[in-house]
Symmetry: C2
Subunit: 156 residues, 2 copies
Amino acid sequence: MTLSETGVILKDALSIFSEYLQQNSLKDTPQRRTILKHFLDGNEHYSAEEFYHYLHQKGEDVGQATVYRTLKLLCAAGIAKEVNFGDGITRFEVGYGNGHHDHLICELCKENLEVLDEEIESLQRVLAARYGYTLTSHRLYLYGICPKCKTKNHSA
Amino acid sequence: MTLSETGVILKDALSIFSEYLQQNSLKDTPQRRTILKHFLDGNEHYSAEEFYHYLHQKGEDVGQATVYRTLKLLCAAGIAKEVNFGDGITRFEVGYGNGHHDHLICELCKENLEVLDEEIESLQRVLAARYGYTLTSHRLYLYGICPKCKTKNHSA
DNA sequence: CTTGTTGCAAAGGATTTGCACGGCT
DNA sequence: AGCCGTGCAAATCCTTTGCAACAAG
């Protein structure tokens, strides 16, 4: 089940977006709606370019520049978040209705889980405080081998 | 005190590099030695381009392509490591004689501390295992405000 | 001598931007 | 009507690559 199939996130995100646009005297255009709709649908970690192709596969015709511009806009509106797996490509994930999490990425099949451990989260604050820092955010990427790939490689 | 001022790291890194070059039938050129020497000296988180300019400030004349190629080589030899603060630029740090660590970055002054907490490290393994993953590596970036910047902003 | 290396400049991939036209409010 | 958004293509940024001259083993 994708996020938008819940029928809840989509509606809220749409209104958040409309509100954001109004408050910033920006315009509510069909392209922006299209992008938001499919972005919530996808629920993957698209790069701007991947997402552009995804849209075209879905029969939507939106310019590449508009995709880049709108994904940024969605981040500004708090609906999307940038993620960065270390391969130099900026990806985007749904950042609304979906709290903070870290990423657990299989090095073989690239499967990507969103994970969270409160103890780690709080130890990070403690660690930062040890140096006098006040933590504002963090990014944690865990790389490993997923159970499926472990099995596959044993039998191979 | 920079790493190379210890007089120890530099020597070891040089021999590791020579050894690596020999074992891979690669050549020990003046440019490669120059780059390695200043790389250890710098002890910063340079991007390839920054490092290229740094070299030229130091009066060394090495082509940009050679800098890119050699930094990669240093990574392959285990002397350098790529880091990625999330701004889409690949940076390099000394990865030899300097164990694993995470990064604590001040959002205001960009000061960058290398930090480590064993408890966090081990909880990461536990977290991955919870999903059946075997952890191979991870990257943790903590963003916050350093004590100096906190003071500055209070008085301002 | 053979093979790898260098430096240049051109190519590349990802992302941004200038501009004229078209669409919201 | 006025102003913002769109799409295109050109521009930019960072990085890689092809190639001919050159140097290390």
